[in-house]
């Protein structure tokens, strides 16, 4: 079973559309994250939720809205998609106590292409 799974794996859409990416983790973690990886492989944190509460909100356009219905899910909705939103988006999760401080486990990524 995949520990952190995100869907879809590929997403091709037109500028101006609204799209969602879903993420689920079955690791029992209490914290989930969204990252954006650009064409140069640079990984940048976008959002993080701990126990369904937003704890990290980096400088991201408000067209991006995360939603965490429960601890095991963190979805990302993007409104009015722009060409610059094309990237690979990674979901991750972690456990925030014990010796495993902040090892984040990543999903396989969603490659978003905006045409």
């Amino acid at each position: 079973d995949t520990a952190v799974s995100q869907t879809p794996k590929y997403l091709v859409t037109q500028m101006g559309n609204d799209k969602s990416i879903k993420c689920e983790q079955n690791l029992g973690h209490d914290t989930m994250y969204w990252y954006k990886q650009d064409s140069k492989k640079f990984l940048k944190i976008m959002f993080s939720y701990n126990n369904k509460e937003l704890i990290i909100n980096e400088t991201v356009p408000n067209r991006f809205s995360p939603k965490s219905p429960d601890k095991a899910h963190l979805n990302l909705h993007i409104n009015s998609l722009e060409l610059g939103d094309s990237a690979v988006y990674f979901c991750a999760s972690s456990h925030q106590y014990g010796n495993s401080k902040n090892i984040q486990y990543f999903g396989a990524g969603t490659r978003l292409s905006v045409l």
């Binding site: 952190v4 914290t31 140069k40 492989k41 640079f42 990984l43 940048k44 944190i45 993080s48 701990n50 704890i55 990290i56 990674f90 991750a92 972690s94 925030q96 401080k101 902040n102 090892i103 984040q104 486990y105 990543f106 999903g107 396989a108 990524g109």
Partner: protein, 111 residues
């Protein structure tokens, strides 16, 4: 093979040789560091971590060295294999939740 200096984006290494990937981190308050491996088309995969109260930690074929004086981290891979070809990232823990990632080093193993 070794990526010297602060950071080199690519490293080419002969199969069977040892690899050394270097990383400079920015925050002297960071107390936890992780190395990740990202293969083509996949997400980053945890390799090894180290806390700031240690200067060396060993795993299976990998060793991480931490020099807090100069804020430098390195990952050594022994007897590099073709399956080690990937992008390697160092990450520092700024606080309990936030990891900041380095730029990544692409390792290519020559047969």
């Amino acid at each position: 093979g070794e990526s010297v200096g602060l950071h080199l984006p690519t490293l080419s290494v002969q199969e069977g040789d040892n690899s050394i990937i270097n990383c400079a981190y920015s925050n002297s308050a960071s107390d936890y560091f992780i190395w990740y491996k990202q293969e083509s088309g996949k997400g980053p995969q945890f390799i090894i971590d180290i806390r700031s109260n240690m200067d060396k930690r060993q795993g299976q074929r990998v060793t991480v060295l931490l020099n807090k004086t100069v804020k430098h981290l390195s990952l050594q891979i022994a007897a590099t294999q073709p399956g080690d070809s990937a992008v390697y990232f160092c990450a520092e823990n700024d606080n309990d939740y936030k990891l900041s990632f380095g730029a990544g080093t692409t390792v290519t193993v020559r047969a």
